[in-house]
């Protein structure tokens, strides 16, 4: 429930930055409508748009509109911001989801392998690889992938068109740093779990190692993964912007960069608000699933 003040805080910051920014929306509006900019018309337009009111009145009006789902109108295209964002949102969400799936598919087996063969060759290789992969900035990974797979080998298009095929490289770019982090965390979690007494107990009773690992250890390590996922949403949402630019993927990140270049503030605002909503709701989901997965938290809540 402490998420609500966070959401309110974000809208205040968001509106505050816009309020303080050097550009004058009234002037933009005049230019957009083709009316000559003069002190008189500016004054009239300000009064018309409510820009002469104090900050809190403006904020109140703006947030009321926000609750109604009205984010204003884009300066550049004249279309409602909500509509513009709805068009881009599915692309960003699908990219982020694909990256999460790829991360899971790769990191769970590799993390397990590294943990089970601790200090072996595989463990060593995986540790070095994850360190290198975790150090590479996303934009560098993206450029290298384009160079190798699109320009040299010609397996992939250089410019994404939103199709499934052209999604592969952006997904890898987004997933790489995350995968490396996950592998290390999962390895540590499994090692810690393997050291617990119940594992020794099960082994002593002659339960097969394979059974212990898949049925007990892996299941108990899932909590780590859920926690990690919750923490990664922020990275994913920020990371999509850079990846979308590199691969010209038609998502929200690319749209907001265009908006920034055109000083189209309502679109930037809408982007931040939407990101905040996604972020907060995913965190809520993580919390809930954590309760579901961890009987200890659930039970202690019920007792209390």
């Amino acid at each position: 429930m402490q998420l609500i003040p966070i959401l309110i805080g974000i809208t205040v910051i968001n509106f505050g930055i816009m309020y303080l920014s050097p550009s004058d929306p009234a002037e933009r509006q005049l230019v957009l409508r083709g009316i000559m900019v003069s002190p008189e018309t500016l004054e009239a337009m300000r009064a018309d748009m409510g820009l002469d009111r104090p900050f809190w009145v403006q904020y109140g009006r703006w947030s009321l509109n926000l609750l109604k789902g009205d984010l204003g109108v884009s300066f550049a295209s004249g279309r409602p911001v909500m509509l513009e964002i709805w068009e881009c949102l599915p692309y960003t969400v699908s990219l982020a989801l694909a990256a999460v799936i790829m991360t899971m598919v790769v990191s769970i087996p590799l993390g397990l392998l590294a943990a089970v063969r601790q200090n072996g060759v595989w463990d060593y290789l995986i540790r070095v690889a994850t360190f290198v992969g975790g150090t590479m900035p996303g934009f560098l990974v993206g450029l290298l992938l384009i160079y190798v797979f699109a320009l040299r080998l010609r397996w992939q298009p250089v410019i994404s068109d939103g199709s499934l095929r052209s999604m592969i490289l952006p997904t890898i770019t987004l997933a790489l740093a995350m995968t490396c982090k996950y592998i290390r965390q999962i390895r540590a979690a499994i090692l810690e779990e393997l050291d617990k007494e119940y594992v020794w107990g099960a082994r002593a009773r002659g339960v097969k190692e394979r059974y212990v690992i898949y049925r007990n250890v892996l299941k108990n390590s899932m909590l780590t993964i859920v926690t990690l996922l919750g923490l990664s949403v922020g990275y994913l949402l920020g990371g999509t912007a850079i990846v979308e630019i590199i691969f010209t993927w038609p998502g929200m990140g690319k749209r907001v960069m265009e908006a920034i270049n055109m000083r189209d503030y309502p679109v930037v605002q809408g982007y931040v608000i939407w990101m905040a909503i996604i972020f907060v709701s995913v965190n809520l989901l993580t919390d809930l699933s954590y309760r579901l997965l961890n009987p200890r938290i659930r039970l202690s809540d019920e007792v209390a």
Binding site: P5, I6, I17, G238, I246, M257
Partner: protein, 279 residues
Amino acid sequence: MARDKVRTRFLVFSALSVAIFAGALLGPFIVPNDPLKADFQMVNQPPSARFPFGTDKLGRCLFSRVVCGARVTIFSSLALVGVIFVFGTAVGVASSYAGGRFDTVCMRVTDIVLAFPDMVLAIAVAGFLGGGLTNAIITLACVSWTKYARLARSQVLALRDQAFIEAARLAGNTGPQIIFRHIMPNAMGPLIVTAALDIGVMMIGVAGLSFLGLGVRPPTPEWGAMLNEGRTYFQQYPGTIFFPGVAIFISIMVFNLFGDSLRDLLAPRQPGETAKEMP
């Protein structure tokens, strides 16, 4: 035995970090060519004796640009880490020492900033403020100081009620004296480790914003901006992204390894120490 190994590792990576700083500092004096001088007869040249890394789309010497770019990328990251370290620590210490309503307000603010994705906020702030190196630094500082405030606060809270602080107070020390003489030296370790590990993070941030066109403006050489300029031309000459890319990769790696070794040196974590679990 293991301690010696940790110390050696720390010394090696400190030396490497210092070498990178020295290179970044002296770079502009030792480069063979002017990093800003364009020569349209030498566009996208492969490496040669005159241009060790070749030239970019405007015929500028890539080697000189990469070397001079180190200065902007590395020193702006360092400045950034310094600013957020001092500011965040000050807020954290003040808020935990003062307590009460001030503490609550400070912590709510850090909650909000911490809760929100860094890069999204950075893009938004940079978008509203406009590009430029100073704005990029302000932006990144705005979104990353909270970590230090949180850490400093928890450190001070852990120390505040200890016997030696009580003793210092009984000995007649004033508030500031207690903070600076007794609390701060004991609270610094984790903060310094965080700062060391943050150098690489901030480099990615500065270069990332420049890459998006929200940081350093061309023609100033900066690694992220160079990658951005190079990406339209790397089909003609891949060196335009290869060399700045390698430079950024190596420096981030060295700083990260340096931070890791510093952490091992200052806070050796015994194996099995983390295995303590809740009942």
